[in-house]
């Protein structure tokens, strides 16, 4: 492996470097992603791709230097782990390994298996397509009725927050199990439906597997934008573009050219509006161990802030009861930071009174790289908090 450095001095050079990002088979690892002219781009290039990369750059006369001659990994734990886990696809949701991180194909297979095993409870809806044309799937859990009041849960809107997609998979199985055993959320399912979008940002998720584990945003390229991707949690029509988001496409909190510019966001907006009966909306992120309610874009208190605060206290106590994991809670703007255009501010303004954002484990020791053995404990404790919120909504219809 070598680490090459390119310092693009013209838009042409920058484009040539950006093109390399799309060549997934090269398995390039961008230590410093292309941002703007004059800033270095550092690329770790595996041995088998060296010639191709150098040819690509040399053909367009893009100068590069070799920063590190030979990157010798002590243990290529990552590669062996992925190889180990890519061989054995499980045949049903009982042998599926919930204690490991999975690829998008494995998660989409899981969904199909869950539906096949529980045809009277679970169905799979395609609510749209991502920028790179991947299907956006939502699992619907319903015991019948027509357009029942519903609970929405999404995970993985920020692709690097891997414990969330993994928890989403566990939640899906848990709901099916509870229903089969007539316990837990079975009572909620008598009167309410649950919608669960596990891979809310599939393009970003694939990118975290193939190229950059720290990728957060979508993978859209808007005309005039220098960099790729929009922060899907700044793209909603609530305080859009206000302080708390960036207008710079290279920023991790880039709000995008206009609200709902991202199909990943628009598809949910369309779904929520056409459903018309969603009563709880929960968007799941990591990390920080926080339970948050609106608003992020303004210091104005949400009309039922008091109720949300008390409900958060109960939910967090339930979460904590399992493994002692400590959460803080409060409004987004006072607890974590000012954020405009965020998901739950929009859903709350649509009238979904119980709109919450979770930030799951941990508090920074591993951050986004949470060890796989913490997936199940995280999902288990989070589920207890989710149940408190769902039960409250069931008992406080509006």
């Amino acid at each position: 492996h070598q680490v090459l450095r390119v310092v693009p001095q013209s838009n042409e050079e920058l484009q040539k470097v950006q093109e390399l990002q799309d060549l997934e088979h090269l398995q390039l690892d961008f230590w410093l992603a292309p941002r703007r002219l004059g800033l270095p781009v550092d690329i770790r290039v595996p041995f088998h791709s060296l010639q191709a990369v150098k040819v690509h750059l040399e053909a367009s006369e893009v100068p590069y230097s070799i920063m590190i001659e030979d990157v010798q990994a002590l243990l290529d734990e990552e590669q062996t782990e992925m190889l180990r886990s890519s061989r054995q696809r499980s045949l049903d949701t009982n042998t599926f390994n919930y204690e490991a991180y999975h690829t998008i194909d494995e998660i989409y297979d899981f969904m199909d298996m869950l539906v096949a095993e529980n045809p009277n409870l679970v169905s799979k809806l395609e609510i749209g397509r991502s920028t790179e044309n991947r299907p956006l799937y939502v699992l619907k859990f319903s015991t019948g009725g027509t357009n029942r009041p519903a609970i929405w849960i999404d995970t993985g809107i920020h692709s690097r927050e891997w414990v969330t997609q993994a928890s989403g998979v566990w939640f899906a199985k848990k709901i099916a199990e509870d229903h089969a055993n007539n316990e837990g959320v079975a009572s909620i399912l008598e009167t309410m439906d649950i919608f669960l979008e596990i891979v809310t940002n599939p393009d970003g998720f694939v990118y975290t597997h193939t190229t950059n584990r720290m990728w957060r945003k979508t993978r859209s390229k808007h005309s005039g934008a220098l960099c790729v991707g929009v922060d899907p949690n700044r793209n909603w029509d609530a305080g859009f573009g206000d302080a708390g988001a960036s207008g710079n496409s290279c920023s991790e909190t880039y709000h995008g050219p206009y609200p709902n510019s991202e199909p990943e966001v628009k598809s949910i907006v369309d779904f929520v509006k056409s459903h018309g009966n969603i009563k709880v909306f929960i968007s799941i992120h990591s990390y920080s161990q926080l339970l948050l309610y609106p608003y992020g874009y303004t210091e104005t208190l949400a009309p039922n802030a008091q109720e949300l605060h008390e409900l958060s206290a109960k939910a967090v106590a339930a979460l904590s009861s399992l493994y002692g994991t400590k959460y803080k809670y409060g409004s987004i703007i006072t607890t974590i930071y000012r954020a405009s255009g965020s998901t739950v501010d929009w859903t709350y303004n649509q009238g979904i009174k119980y709109s919450f954002t979770f930030e799951l484990r941990d508090t920074g020791r591993y951050g986004f790289l949470l060890p796989a053995k913490q997936i199940v404990p995280t999902a288990q404790e989070t589920w207890l908090a989710l149940k408190v919120i769902m039960e409250h909504a069931r008992d406080n219809t509006y």
Binding site: E78, M214, S251
Partner: protein, 220 residues
Amino acid sequence: RAMELPSSHLSAARAAAAAVGYLRYLRGGPGRGLQLRELRRARRQDIDDVGHKYYLELELEDVLDKDRTVNCTAEVLYHLGSKTSAPDVQVTVQGELRSTEDADQEFYNRIRSLEKELVAENIPDSHGNVPPELEPIHRLAWVASGYVIWQNSTENTKFHLAQVKHVKQVKRSDEDLQFDFVVLLHEMVSQEVLPWEVTLLWHPQRGARVAQSRAAGAGS
């Protein structure tokens, strides 16, 4: 004079992160990894013409000695209008930290006796794994990044070490160990993941010091 802050308040959490960075730099090592368990109490004082001072009561733990509680108090002073100076941090640890003399010496001997200089990358890996023999290196990365975090913290930032992208040992003619790190720091407010190059020198008796650090790519 000093206003009480709810410990859930974001400014208290940010000051705590700066204090922990500083403490890791001062007291961390291959055999000791301090992390924040709980911010117990926070007060803030606005000092005219000087800046904002936070008084914190922190509960920490050593990841190698999790049953024990390490209590400490910290004062973090962010200087007014200053974008280039680090906050002044003072930390007082109550009681004694577990001794790491033996572990430190063992680590030192092991690294000194390596024929080829140690090189590693992606610690932890994508799945959160850290091979056991690299755990002391990971903890030294906490020390190195603790320095950078302390030096670069403001009231509008909250840094964590996201990953050690690369580490290379550099053999020296003196008795220090030298590790050249490329660390990825996650800044919570902007959500940016920022690469930093940090050269850390460490000695079992003399402790750690950062020889140089810079945002990766800067000034080249």
